[in-house]
Amino acid sequence: MHYSSKLIERAVEEIAKLPGIGKKSALRIVLHLLKQEPRQTHQLAEALLQLRDHIQYCKECHNIADEAICSLCSDPRRHRETICVVEHFKDIAAIERTGHYQGLYHVLGGLISPIDGVGPQDIHIESLLQRVQKHKVEEVILALSSTMEGDTTAFYLTKRLKELQVKVTALARGVPIGSELEFTDELTLARSLLGRVEF
Protein backbone atom coordinates (compact mmCIF):
# COMPACT_ATOMS: atom_id res chain seq x y z
CA MET A 1 0.00 0.00 0.00
CA HIS A 2 1.19 3.53 -0.72
CA TYR A 3 0.33 6.40 1.57
CA SER A 4 0.77 10.09 0.90
CA SER A 5 2.80 10.39 4.09
CA LYS A 6 5.93 8.53 5.12
CA LEU A 7 4.91 9.17 8.73
CA ILE A 8 1.66 7.28 8.31
CA GLU A 9 3.42 4.51 6.44
CA ARG A 10 5.87 3.99 9.28
CA ALA A 11 3.21 4.02 11.99
CA VAL A 12 1.09 1.53 10.04
CA GLU A 13 4.05 -0.78 9.55
CA GLU A 14 4.88 -0.80 13.25
CA ILE A 15 1.31 -1.42 14.39
CA ALA A 16 0.81 -4.15 11.79
CA LYS A 17 3.64 -6.10 13.43
CA LEU A 18 1.35 -6.75 16.41
CA PRO A 19 -0.37 -10.13 16.59
CA GLY A 20 -3.76 -10.29 14.92
CA ILE A 21 -3.49 -6.87 13.26
CA GLY A 22 -3.15 -6.55 9.51
CA LYS A 23 -2.31 -3.48 7.47
CA LYS A 24 -5.93 -2.43 7.05
CA SER A 25 -6.64 -2.51 10.78
CA ALA A 26 -3.34 -0.75 11.44
CA LEU A 27 -4.35 2.05 9.12
CA ARG A 28 -7.70 2.35 10.88
CA ILE A 29 -5.95 2.67 14.24
CA VAL A 30 -3.55 5.28 12.89
CA LEU A 31 -6.38 7.36 11.41
CA HIS A 32 -8.33 7.03 14.63
CA LEU A 33 -5.38 8.31 16.68
CA LEU A 34 -4.99 11.27 14.33
CA LYS A 35 -8.62 12.25 14.86
CA GLN A 36 -8.20 12.23 18.64
CA GLU A 37 -6.50 14.83 20.82
CA PRO A 38 -2.69 14.61 20.54
CA ARG A 39 -2.66 14.03 24.31
CA GLN A 40 -4.25 10.61 23.88
CA THR A 41 -1.51 9.36 21.53
CA HIS A 42 1.11 10.66 23.90
CA GLN A 43 -0.53 8.80 26.75
CA LEU A 44 -0.58 5.57 24.74
CA ALA A 45 3.07 5.90 23.71
CA GLU A 46 4.05 6.76 27.26
CA ALA A 47 2.16 3.78 28.70
CA LEU A 48 3.88 1.42 26.28
CA LEU A 49 7.32 2.82 27.03
CA GLN A 50 6.73 2.60 30.77
CA LEU A 51 5.50 -0.95 30.38
CA ARG A 52 8.52 -2.02 28.39
CA ASP A 53 11.12 -0.30 30.54
CA HIS A 54 9.74 -0.97 33.98
CA ILE A 55 8.05 -4.35 33.80
CA GLN A 56 9.67 -6.93 36.03
CA TYR A 57 9.39 -10.59 36.72
CA CYS A 58 8.74 -11.46 40.35
CA LYS A 59 11.91 -12.80 41.96
CA GLU A 60 9.86 -15.37 43.85
CA CYS A 61 7.29 -16.75 41.42
CA HIS A 62 8.30 -15.24 38.02
CA ASN A 63 4.87 -13.66 37.61
CA ILE A 64 4.78 -10.32 35.79
CA ALA A 65 5.17 -7.55 38.37
CA ASP A 66 5.70 -3.86 38.92
CA GLU A 67 8.11 -4.44 41.77
CA ALA A 68 10.80 -7.01 42.50
CA ILE A 69 8.17 -9.06 44.32
CA CYS A 70 4.70 -9.33 42.73
CA SER A 71 1.50 -8.23 44.41
CA LEU A 72 0.42 -11.85 45.03
CA CYS A 73 3.66 -12.91 46.68
CA SER A 74 3.72 -9.81 48.87
CA ASP A 75 0.05 -10.13 49.90
CA PRO A 76 0.06 -11.21 53.59
CA ARG A 77 -3.40 -12.79 53.24
CA ARG A 78 -2.19 -15.48 50.81
CA HIS A 79 -1.48 -18.93 52.26
CA ARG A 80 2.22 -19.49 51.94
CA GLU A 81 2.28 -23.25 52.45
CA THR A 82 0.67 -23.98 49.06
CA ILE A 83 2.22 -23.31 45.66
CA CYS A 84 0.32 -23.70 42.41
CA VAL A 85 2.58 -24.34 39.42
CA VAL A 86 1.45 -22.90 36.07
CA GLU A 87 2.98 -22.53 32.62
CA HIS A 88 2.19 -18.86 31.89
CA PHE A 89 1.19 -15.87 33.96
CA LYS A 90 -2.06 -15.90 31.95
CA ASP A 91 -2.95 -19.14 33.78
CA ILE A 92 -2.74 -17.27 37.10
CA ALA A 93 -5.49 -14.94 35.93
CA ALA A 94 -7.67 -17.94 35.03
CA ILE A 95 -7.22 -19.56 38.43
CA GLU A 96 -7.68 -16.24 40.27
CA ARG A 97 -11.01 -15.73 38.49
CA THR A 98 -12.34 -18.90 40.16
CA GLY A 99 -11.86 -17.24 43.56
CA HIS A 100 -11.14 -20.65 45.06
CA TYR A 101 -7.42 -20.44 45.55
CA GLN A 102 -5.65 -18.52 48.32
CA GLY A 103 -2.11 -19.86 47.97
CA LEU A 104 0.93 -18.71 46.02
CA TYR A 105 1.95 -19.40 42.42
CA HIS A 106 5.00 -20.39 40.47
CA VAL A 107 5.26 -19.57 36.77
CA LEU A 108 7.44 -22.01 34.81
CA GLY A 109 7.57 -19.83 31.71
CA GLY A 110 7.25 -22.86 29.44
CA LEU A 111 7.03 -26.64 29.38
CA ILE A 112 9.65 -29.32 28.88
CA SER A 113 9.60 -29.98 25.15
CA PRO A 114 12.47 -32.04 23.72
CA ILE A 115 11.31 -31.46 20.14
CA ASP A 116 11.62 -27.68 20.59
CA GLY A 117 14.86 -28.12 22.49
CA VAL A 118 13.36 -26.92 25.79
CA GLY A 119 14.82 -28.84 28.70
CA PRO A 120 14.23 -28.64 32.48
CA GLN A 121 17.09 -26.15 32.77
CA ASP A 122 15.36 -23.75 30.35
CA ILE A 123 12.30 -23.19 32.52
CA HIS A 124 11.95 -22.10 36.16
CA ILE A 125 12.23 -25.51 37.81
CA GLU A 126 15.32 -25.05 39.97
CA SER A 127 13.86 -21.93 41.58
CA LEU A 128 10.68 -23.86 42.40
CA LEU A 129 12.70 -26.59 44.12
CA GLN A 130 14.58 -23.93 46.05
CA ARG A 131 11.35 -22.24 47.13
CA VAL A 132 9.93 -25.52 48.35
CA GLN A 133 13.11 -26.25 50.29
CA LYS A 134 13.55 -22.78 51.74
CA HIS A 135 10.00 -22.09 52.85
CA LYS A 136 7.67 -24.39 54.66
CA VAL A 137 5.69 -25.49 51.61
CA GLU A 138 3.26 -28.33 52.34
CA GLU A 139 1.60 -28.85 48.97
CA VAL A 140 2.52 -28.19 45.35
CA ILE A 141 -0.43 -28.16 42.96
CA LEU A 142 0.42 -28.86 39.33
CA ALA A 143 -1.95 -26.90 37.11
CA LEU A 144 -0.47 -27.66 33.68
CA SER A 145 -2.10 -28.33 30.32
CA SER A 146 -3.25 -31.83 29.61
CA THR A 147 -0.93 -32.21 26.61
CA MET A 148 2.06 -34.45 26.09
CA GLU A 149 4.41 -31.61 27.07
CA GLY A 150 2.27 -30.66 30.07
CA ASP A 151 2.23 -34.25 31.29
CA THR A 152 5.97 -34.70 30.76
CA THR A 153 6.65 -31.58 32.81
CA ALA A 154 4.22 -32.69 35.52
CA PHE A 155 5.82 -36.13 35.83
CA TYR A 156 9.28 -34.61 35.90
CA LEU A 157 8.30 -32.10 38.60
CA THR A 158 6.68 -34.86 40.65
CA LYS A 159 9.87 -36.87 40.46
CA ARG A 160 12.01 -33.95 41.60
CA LEU A 161 9.55 -32.76 44.27
CA LYS A 162 9.11 -36.22 45.80
CA GLU A 163 12.78 -36.05 46.81
CA LEU A 164 11.85 -33.03 48.92
CA GLN A 165 9.03 -34.88 50.68
CA VAL A 166 6.34 -32.40 49.74
CA LYS A 167 2.79 -33.37 48.85
CA VAL A 168 2.25 -33.08 45.08
CA THR A 169 -1.24 -32.86 43.62
CA ALA A 170 -2.57 -32.18 40.13
CA LEU A 171 -5.80 -30.69 38.81
CA ALA A 172 -8.56 -33.29 38.37
CA ARG A 173 -9.33 -34.24 34.80
CA GLY A 174 -12.72 -35.20 33.59
CA VAL A 175 -15.96 -34.45 31.84
CA PRO A 176 -16.47 -30.71 31.34
CA ILE A 177 -19.35 -29.21 33.30
CA GLY A 178 -22.48 -28.79 31.22
CA SER A 179 -21.37 -31.21 28.51
CA GLU A 180 -23.13 -34.31 27.29
CA LEU A 181 -21.52 -37.61 28.17
CA GLU A 182 -21.92 -39.12 24.72
CA PHE A 183 -19.84 -36.35 23.15
CA THR A 184 -16.94 -36.73 25.57
CA ASP A 185 -13.92 -38.33 23.94
CA GLU A 186 -12.94 -41.80 25.07
CA LEU A 187 -9.65 -40.82 26.69
CA THR A 188 -11.26 -38.19 28.90
CA LEU A 189 -14.11 -40.52 29.76
CA ALA A 190 -11.76 -43.40 30.62
CA ARG A 191 -9.74 -41.07 32.82
CA SER A 192 -12.86 -39.72 34.50
CA LEU A 193 -13.97 -43.26 35.29
CA LEU A 194 -10.61 -44.13 36.82
CA GLY A 195 -10.61 -40.95 38.87
CA ARG A 196 -14.29 -41.08 39.83
CA VAL A 197 -15.27 -39.52 43.15
CA GLU A 198 -17.82 -40.38 45.81
CA PHE A 199 -20.97 -38.36 45.27
Binding site: I115, G119, P120, M148, D185
Partner: protein, 376 residues
Protein backbone atom coordinates in the same frame (compact mmCIF):
# COMPACT_ATOMS: atom_id res chain seq x y z
CA UNK B 1 -38.04 -58.75 3.52
CA UNK B 2 -34.57 -57.34 2.96
CA UNK B 3 -32.00 -59.76 1.65
CA UNK B 4 -28.84 -60.56 3.60
CA UNK B 5 -26.83 -58.33 1.32
CA UNK B 6 -28.83 -55.28 2.34
CA UNK B 7 -27.42 -55.34 5.84
CA UNK B 8 -23.84 -55.42 4.61
CA UNK B 9 -21.83 -52.24 4.95
CA UNK B 10 -21.06 -51.00 1.47
CA UNK B 11 -20.15 -47.92 -0.49
CA UNK B 12 -23.12 -46.99 -2.66
CA UNK B 13 -21.55 -44.24 -4.68
CA UNK B 14 -18.61 -41.92 -4.84
CA UNK B 15 -17.92 -38.46 -6.20
CA UNK B 16 -14.43 -37.14 -6.82
CA UNK B 17 -13.39 -33.53 -7.34
CA UNK B 18 -9.88 -32.63 -8.54
CA UNK B 19 -8.57 -35.89 -7.13
CA UNK B 20 -5.40 -37.08 -8.90
CA UNK B 21 -6.27 -37.71 -12.57
CA UNK B 22 -9.99 -36.98 -12.04
CA UNK B 23 -11.36 -33.46 -12.47
CA UNK B 24 -14.84 -34.65 -11.64
CA UNK B 25 -16.24 -38.15 -11.47
CA UNK B 26 -19.40 -39.76 -10.14
CA UNK B 27 -19.90 -43.51 -9.90
CA UNK B 28 -22.48 -45.81 -8.35
CA UNK B 29 -21.19 -49.13 -7.13
CA UNK B 30 -22.52 -52.64 -6.89
CA UNK B 31 -23.07 -53.75 -3.30
CA UNK B 32 -20.96 -56.88 -3.66
CA UNK B 33 -18.40 -56.94 -6.45
CA UNK B 34 -16.94 -54.10 -8.49
CA UNK B 35 -14.34 -54.65 -11.15
CA UNK B 36 -12.36 -51.77 -12.59
CA UNK B 37 -10.63 -52.56 -15.86
CA UNK B 38 -8.30 -50.45 -17.96
CA UNK B 39 -4.73 -50.23 -19.15
CA UNK B 40 -1.84 -49.41 -16.87
CA UNK B 41 -1.64 -45.77 -15.82
CA UNK B 42 -5.25 -44.78 -16.58
CA UNK B 43 -6.19 -44.21 -12.94
CA UNK B 44 -7.61 -47.49 -11.60
CA UNK B 45 -5.45 -47.35 -8.50
CA UNK B 46 -6.36 -43.68 -8.05
CA UNK B 47 -9.98 -44.74 -7.66
CA UNK B 48 -9.06 -47.24 -4.97
CA UNK B 49 -6.97 -44.54 -3.34
CA UNK B 50 -10.00 -42.20 -3.32
CA UNK B 51 -12.15 -44.90 -1.71
CA UNK B 52 -9.47 -45.46 0.94
CA UNK B 53 -9.25 -41.76 1.80
CA UNK B 54 -13.02 -41.64 2.12
CA UNK B 55 -13.27 -44.65 4.42
CA UNK B 56 -10.24 -44.03 6.64
CA UNK B 57 -9.15 -40.41 6.26
CA UNK B 58 -5.72 -41.76 5.32
CA UNK B 59 -3.76 -42.56 2.18
CA UNK B 60 -3.73 -46.08 0.79
CA UNK B 61 -0.08 -45.83 -0.17
CA UNK B 62 1.19 -43.66 2.65
CA UNK B 63 1.30 -40.53 0.47
CA UNK B 64 0.63 -37.01 1.67
CA UNK B 65 -2.66 -35.21 1.03
CA UNK B 66 -0.84 -32.88 -1.36
CA UNK B 67 0.13 -35.82 -3.53
CA UNK B 68 -3.53 -36.35 -4.46
CA UNK B 69 -4.23 -32.83 -5.72
CA UNK B 70 -5.01 -32.79 -9.43
CA UNK B 71 -2.34 -30.80 -11.25
CA UNK B 72 -3.18 -27.10 -11.25
CA UNK B 73 -6.09 -27.22 -8.79
CA UNK B 74 -6.32 -25.93 -5.21
CA UNK B 75 -7.29 -29.11 -3.41
CA UNK B 76 -9.49 -32.16 -3.65
CA UNK B 77 -12.54 -33.75 -2.17
CA UNK B 78 -14.01 -37.23 -2.20
CA UNK B 79 -17.53 -37.87 -1.04
CA UNK B 80 -19.89 -40.77 -1.03
CA UNK B 81 -22.74 -42.61 0.59
CA UNK B 82 -22.11 -45.59 2.81
CA UNK B 83 -24.95 -47.97 3.59
CA UNK B 84 -24.69 -49.45 7.05
CA UNK B 85 -27.50 -51.75 8.15
CA UNK B 86 -30.61 -49.66 7.60
CA UNK B 87 -28.83 -46.34 7.65
CA UNK B 88 -27.22 -44.33 4.91
CA UNK B 89 -24.27 -42.11 5.84
CA UNK B 90 -22.99 -39.25 3.77
CA UNK B 91 -19.22 -39.05 4.16
CA UNK B 92 -16.78 -36.49 2.81
CA UNK B 93 -13.01 -36.23 2.97
CA UNK B 94 -11.55 -32.97 1.72
CA UNK B 95 -8.20 -31.26 1.52
CA UNK B 96 -7.94 -27.58 0.53
CA UNK B 97 -4.60 -26.48 2.01
CA UNK B 98 -5.18 -22.77 1.49
CA UNK B 99 -8.27 -22.82 3.69
CA UNK B 100 -7.99 -25.68 6.11
CA UNK B 101 -6.35 -28.89 7.22
CA UNK B 102 -7.62 -32.18 5.86
CA UNK B 103 -11.13 -32.75 7.13
CA UNK B 104 -13.57 -35.63 7.32
CA UNK B 105 -17.31 -35.11 7.69
CA UNK B 106 -19.93 -37.71 8.55
CA UNK B 107 -23.49 -36.64 7.84
CA UNK B 108 -22.40 -33.03 7.75
CA UNK B 109 -20.54 -32.87 11.05
CA UNK B 110 -16.79 -32.67 11.16
CA UNK B 111 -14.78 -35.44 12.80
CA UNK B 112 -12.71 -33.71 15.48
CA UNK B 113 -9.99 -36.30 15.96
CA UNK B 114 -9.16 -38.28 12.81
CA UNK B 115 -7.94 -41.06 15.07
CA UNK B 116 -11.57 -41.61 16.08
CA UNK B 117 -12.58 -42.00 12.44
CA UNK B 118 -9.92 -44.53 11.52
CA UNK B 119 -11.54 -47.96 11.87
CA UNK B 120 -15.09 -46.56 11.77
CA UNK B 121 -15.51 -48.05 8.28
CA UNK B 122 -13.06 -50.96 8.18
CA UNK B 123 -11.22 -51.57 4.92
CA UNK B 124 -8.54 -54.01 3.83
CA UNK B 125 -6.40 -53.40 0.78
CA UNK B 126 -4.06 -55.36 -1.38
CA UNK B 127 -1.62 -53.49 -3.63
CA UNK B 128 1.33 -54.70 -5.71
CA UNK B 129 3.61 -53.02 -3.13
CA UNK B 130 2.47 -55.57 -0.56
CA UNK B 131 5.04 -57.98 -1.99
CA UNK B 132 7.52 -55.88 0.04
CA UNK B 133 6.00 -57.45 3.15
CA UNK B 134 7.89 -60.58 2.25
CA UNK B 135 10.95 -59.09 0.59
CA UNK B 136 11.79 -56.01 2.61
CA UNK B 137 12.86 -55.19 6.16
CA UNK B 138 10.69 -55.18 9.28
CA UNK B 139 9.38 -51.66 8.82
CA UNK B 140 6.96 -52.67 6.06
CA UNK B 141 5.48 -55.46 8.14
CA UNK B 142 5.17 -53.23 11.20
CA UNK B 143 3.40 -50.57 9.18
CA UNK B 144 0.93 -53.06 7.72
CA UNK B 145 0.25 -54.78 11.04
CA UNK B 146 -0.11 -51.46 12.87
CA UNK B 147 -2.53 -50.11 10.27
CA UNK B 148 -4.57 -53.29 10.55
CA UNK B 149 -4.55 -53.61 14.36
CA UNK B 150 -5.43 -49.93 14.71
CA UNK B 151 -8.60 -50.65 12.72
CA UNK B 152 -9.36 -53.65 14.91
CA UNK B 153 -9.02 -51.74 18.15
CA UNK B 154 -9.19 -48.06 18.99
CA UNK B 155 -7.25 -48.83 22.17
CA UNK B 156 -4.40 -50.08 19.99
CA UNK B 157 -4.52 -46.96 17.82
CA UNK B 158 -4.34 -44.65 20.83
CA UNK B 159 -1.42 -46.50 22.46
CA UNK B 160 0.43 -46.60 19.14
CA UNK B 161 0.09 -42.88 18.52
CA UNK B 162 1.13 -42.05 22.09
CA UNK B 163 4.12 -44.39 22.04
CA UNK B 164 5.44 -42.91 18.82
CA UNK B 165 4.93 -39.35 20.05
CA UNK B 166 6.95 -40.19 23.17
CA UNK B 167 9.58 -41.99 21.10
CA UNK B 168 10.10 -38.91 18.92
CA UNK B 169 10.70 -36.89 22.09
CA UNK B 170 13.09 -39.42 23.57
CA UNK B 171 15.04 -39.42 20.29
CA UNK B 172 15.15 -35.62 20.30
CA UNK B 173 16.58 -35.75 23.85
CA UNK B 174 19.23 -38.29 22.85
CA UNK B 175 20.29 -36.04 19.98
CA UNK B 176 20.56 -32.99 22.22
CA UNK B 177 22.51 -34.90 24.83
CA UNK B 178 24.88 -36.20 22.19
CA UNK B 179 25.69 -32.65 21.18
CA UNK B 180 25.62 -30.89 24.52
CA UNK B 181 25.63 -32.07 28.08
CA UNK B 182 25.21 -35.17 30.24
CA UNK B 183 21.78 -36.84 30.17
CA UNK B 184 19.18 -35.78 32.72
CA UNK B 185 18.41 -39.15 34.30
CA UNK B 186 15.19 -38.00 35.96
CA UNK B 187 13.79 -36.79 32.64
CA UNK B 188 14.82 -40.00 30.91
CA UNK B 189 13.02 -41.99 33.60
CA UNK B 190 9.87 -39.96 33.02
CA UNK B 191 9.94 -40.94 29.37
CA UNK B 192 10.68 -44.57 30.15
CA UNK B 193 7.79 -44.78 32.59
CA UNK B 194 5.37 -43.25 30.11
CA UNK B 195 6.61 -45.29 27.15
CA UNK B 196 6.23 -48.48 29.19
CA UNK B 197 2.58 -47.61 29.84
CA UNK B 198 2.00 -47.52 26.10
CA UNK B 199 4.33 -50.35 25.05
CA UNK B 200 3.04 -53.21 27.20
CA UNK B 201 -0.58 -52.92 26.07
CA UNK B 202 0.71 -52.83 22.47
CA UNK B 203 2.78 -55.94 23.11
CA UNK B 204 -0.21 -57.80 24.56
CA UNK B 205 -2.52 -56.75 21.74
CA UNK B 206 0.05 -57.65 19.08
CA UNK B 207 0.42 -61.12 20.57
CA UNK B 208 -3.31 -61.59 20.86
CA UNK B 209 -4.21 -60.33 17.39
CA UNK B 210 -1.40 -62.31 15.74
CA UNK B 211 -2.72 -65.40 17.53
CA UNK B 212 -6.22 -64.74 16.22
CA UNK B 213 -4.99 -64.03 12.70
CA UNK B 214 -2.95 -67.24 12.28
CA UNK B 215 -5.69 -69.87 11.94
CA UNK B 216 -7.54 -67.57 9.53
CA UNK B 217 -4.49 -67.10 7.29
CA UNK B 218 -4.01 -70.89 7.22
CA UNK B 219 -7.67 -71.37 6.39
CA UNK B 220 -7.61 -68.98 3.44
CA UNK B 221 -4.24 -70.15 2.20
CA UNK B 222 -5.57 -73.67 2.08
CA UNK B 223 -8.72 -72.55 0.28
CA UNK B 224 -6.66 -70.72 -2.33
CA UNK B 225 -3.88 -73.24 -2.84
CA UNK B 226 -5.71 -76.50 -2.25
CA UNK B 227 -3.76 -77.37 0.89
CA UNK B 228 -0.45 -79.19 1.22
CA UNK B 229 1.53 -76.28 2.68
CA UNK B 230 1.82 -74.99 6.22
CA UNK B 231 1.66 -71.25 6.84
CA UNK B 232 2.50 -69.37 10.02
CA UNK B 233 3.00 -65.79 11.13
CA UNK B 234 5.28 -65.49 14.13
CA UNK B 235 5.38 -62.36 16.24
CA UNK B 236 8.87 -61.35 17.34
CA UNK B 237 9.55 -58.77 20.02
CA UNK B 238 12.52 -57.83 22.15
CA UNK B 239 10.03 -57.63 25.00
CA UNK B 240 9.76 -61.41 25.05
CA UNK B 241 13.37 -61.62 26.16
CA UNK B 242 13.81 -58.70 28.53
CA UNK B 243 11.83 -55.94 30.18
CA UNK B 244 11.80 -52.53 28.55
CA UNK B 245 13.69 -51.10 31.54
CA UNK B 246 16.44 -53.67 31.04
CA UNK B 247 16.55 -53.10 27.29
CA UNK B 248 16.84 -49.35 27.65
CA UNK B 249 19.41 -49.57 30.41
CA UNK B 250 21.61 -51.80 28.28
CA UNK B 251 21.22 -49.76 25.13
CA UNK B 252 21.61 -46.29 26.66
CA UNK B 253 25.34 -45.89 25.85
CA UNK B 254 24.70 -46.87 22.23
CA UNK B 255 21.54 -44.76 22.04
CA UNK B 256 23.43 -41.72 23.31
CA UNK B 257 26.10 -42.24 20.69
CA UNK B 258 23.64 -42.78 17.83
CA UNK B 259 21.07 -40.20 18.88
CA UNK B 260 18.08 -42.54 18.64
CA UNK B 261 16.33 -45.35 20.51
CA UNK B 262 17.69 -48.66 19.28
CA UNK B 263 15.47 -50.92 21.37
CA UNK B 264 11.80 -51.14 22.15
CA UNK B 265 8.44 -52.16 20.80
CA UNK B 266 9.06 -50.07 17.67
CA UNK B 267 11.57 -52.74 16.60
CA UNK B 268 9.08 -55.61 16.62
CA UNK B 269 8.78 -57.86 13.61
CA UNK B 270 6.65 -60.63 12.19
CA UNK B 271 8.22 -63.72 10.67
CA UNK B 272 6.32 -65.15 7.70
CA UNK B 273 6.88 -68.89 7.53
CA UNK B 274 6.07 -71.38 4.78
CA UNK B 275 6.57 -74.94 6.00
CA UNK B 276 8.63 -73.49 8.88
CA UNK B 277 11.04 -71.66 6.58
CA UNK B 278 10.96 -67.86 6.14
CA UNK B 279 9.14 -67.11 2.88
CA UNK B 280 11.82 -64.59 1.99
CA UNK B 281 14.23 -67.49 1.33
CA UNK B 282 12.14 -70.20 -0.13
CA UNK B 283 8.92 -69.22 -1.82
CA UNK B 284 7.84 -68.87 -5.44
CA UNK B 285 6.11 -65.77 -6.77
CA UNK B 286 2.81 -67.63 -6.87
CA UNK B 287 3.16 -68.79 -3.27
CA UNK B 288 3.98 -65.27 -2.15
CA UNK B 289 1.00 -63.77 -3.87
CA UNK B 290 -1.26 -66.52 -2.56
CA UNK B 291 0.02 -65.91 0.95
CA UNK B 292 -0.57 -62.17 0.69
CA UNK B 293 -4.10 -62.64 -0.62
CA UNK B 294 -4.77 -65.14 2.18
CA UNK B 295 -3.39 -62.65 4.70
CA UNK B 296 -5.70 -59.91 3.43
CA UNK B 297 -8.74 -62.19 3.43
CA UNK B 298 -7.84 -63.24 6.99
CA UNK B 299 -7.58 -59.60 8.05
CA UNK B 300 -10.94 -58.90 6.51
CA UNK B 301 -12.43 -61.91 8.30
CA UNK B 302 -10.97 -60.93 11.68
CA UNK B 303 -12.29 -57.39 11.31
CA UNK B 304 -15.71 -58.84 10.66
CA UNK B 305 -15.51 -61.16 13.69
CA UNK B 306 -14.41 -58.41 16.05
CA UNK B 307 -16.48 -55.50 14.78
CA UNK B 308 -19.52 -57.30 13.38
CA UNK B 309 -19.10 -55.13 10.33
CA UNK B 310 -18.02 -56.16 6.84
CA UNK B 311 -14.81 -54.49 5.80
CA UNK B 312 -14.48 -53.31 2.23
CA UNK B 313 -11.84 -55.14 0.30
CA UNK B 314 -9.67 -53.27 -2.22
CA UNK B 315 -7.66 -55.60 -4.44
CA UNK B 316 -5.34 -53.81 -6.81
CA UNK B 317 -3.88 -55.78 -9.70
CA UNK B 318 -4.46 -59.06 -7.94
CA UNK B 319 -4.70 -61.52 -10.82
CA UNK B 320 -1.23 -60.90 -12.12
CA UNK B 321 0.86 -64.00 -11.23
CA UNK B 322 -2.11 -65.94 -9.83
CA UNK B 323 -3.06 -69.02 -11.84
CA UNK B 324 -6.63 -69.63 -13.04
CA UNK B 325 -7.39 -72.12 -10.25
CA UNK B 326 -6.47 -69.70 -7.51
CA UNK B 327 -8.38 -66.90 -9.18
CA UNK B 328 -11.55 -68.94 -9.27
CA UNK B 329 -10.98 -70.07 -5.66
CA UNK B 330 -10.71 -66.40 -4.72
CA UNK B 331 -13.93 -65.52 -6.51
CA UNK B 332 -15.70 -68.34 -4.69
CA UNK B 333 -14.53 -66.79 -1.42
CA UNK B 334 -15.76 -63.38 -2.52
CA UNK B 335 -19.17 -64.93 -2.91
CA UNK B 336 -19.27 -65.46 0.85
CA UNK B 337 -21.21 -62.90 2.76
CA UNK B 338 -18.54 -62.14 5.37
CA UNK B 339 -16.09 -60.85 2.77
CA UNK B 340 -18.23 -57.81 2.20
CA UNK B 341 -17.99 -55.44 -0.75
CA UNK B 342 -15.02 -56.00 -3.01
CA UNK B 343 -13.21 -53.75 -5.50
CA UNK B 344 -10.85 -55.38 -7.96
CA UNK B 345 -8.69 -53.78 -10.65
CA UNK B 346 -7.35 -55.56 -13.70
CA UNK B 347 -5.82 -54.75 -17.06
CA UNK B 348 -7.76 -57.25 -19.15
CA UNK B 349 -11.48 -56.60 -19.64
CA UNK B 350 -12.07 -59.89 -21.51
CA UNK B 351 -10.60 -61.98 -18.70
CA UNK B 352 -12.78 -60.23 -16.13
CA UNK B 353 -15.92 -60.48 -18.24
CA UNK B 354 -15.30 -64.20 -18.68
CA UNK B 355 -14.64 -64.68 -14.95
CA UNK B 356 -17.81 -62.85 -14.00
CA UNK B 357 -19.86 -64.94 -16.41
CA UNK B 358 -18.30 -68.24 -15.31
CA UNK B 359 -18.55 -67.61 -11.58
CA UNK B 360 -22.15 -66.33 -11.73
CA UNK B 361 -21.20 -63.59 -9.31
CA UNK B 362 -23.41 -60.54 -9.09
CA UNK B 363 -21.27 -57.53 -9.81
CA UNK B 364 -20.52 -54.50 -11.93
CA UNK B 365 -17.76 -53.93 -14.45
CA UNK B 366 -16.29 -50.47 -15.01
CA UNK B 367 -13.98 -49.34 -17.74
CA UNK B 368 -11.46 -46.76 -16.63
CA UNK B 369 -9.91 -44.41 -19.19
CA UNK B 370 -7.83 -41.28 -18.64
CA UNK B 371 -9.80 -39.23 -16.09
CA UNK B 372 -13.08 -41.07 -16.76
CA UNK B 373 -14.80 -44.26 -15.73
CA UNK B 374 -17.98 -45.80 -17.11
CA UNK B 375 -19.99 -48.84 -16.16
CA UNK B 376 -20.05 -51.46 -18.92
Amino acid sequence: MPSKLDSMTHLKNISLTDFKSYASLKLSFHEKLNILVGQNGVGKTNLLEAIYWLLTGKSLQGHSERHAIRYGSEGWSVEGEIAEEERLHHVRCAFYPKQDRKAVFIDGSRVERLLDYYGRFPVVSFTPNDIDLIREAAEQRRRTMDAFFAQLSQEYAVHLVQYHALLRRRNALLKQWREQHAPDVALLEVFHMRMEQEAYPLYDLRRRFTGELNPLVSFYYEKLSGGKEFIKIEYRSQLSEASLQQLWQESLPTDLKMGFTSKGIHRDDWLLLLNDVPMKWSSSQGQRKTFLVALKLAMSDLLFRRKQQNPLLLLDDIFDKLDAERVSALLQLVRQQRLGQVFITDTEPERMQRLLAESHLPGALFEVKQGRAVQL
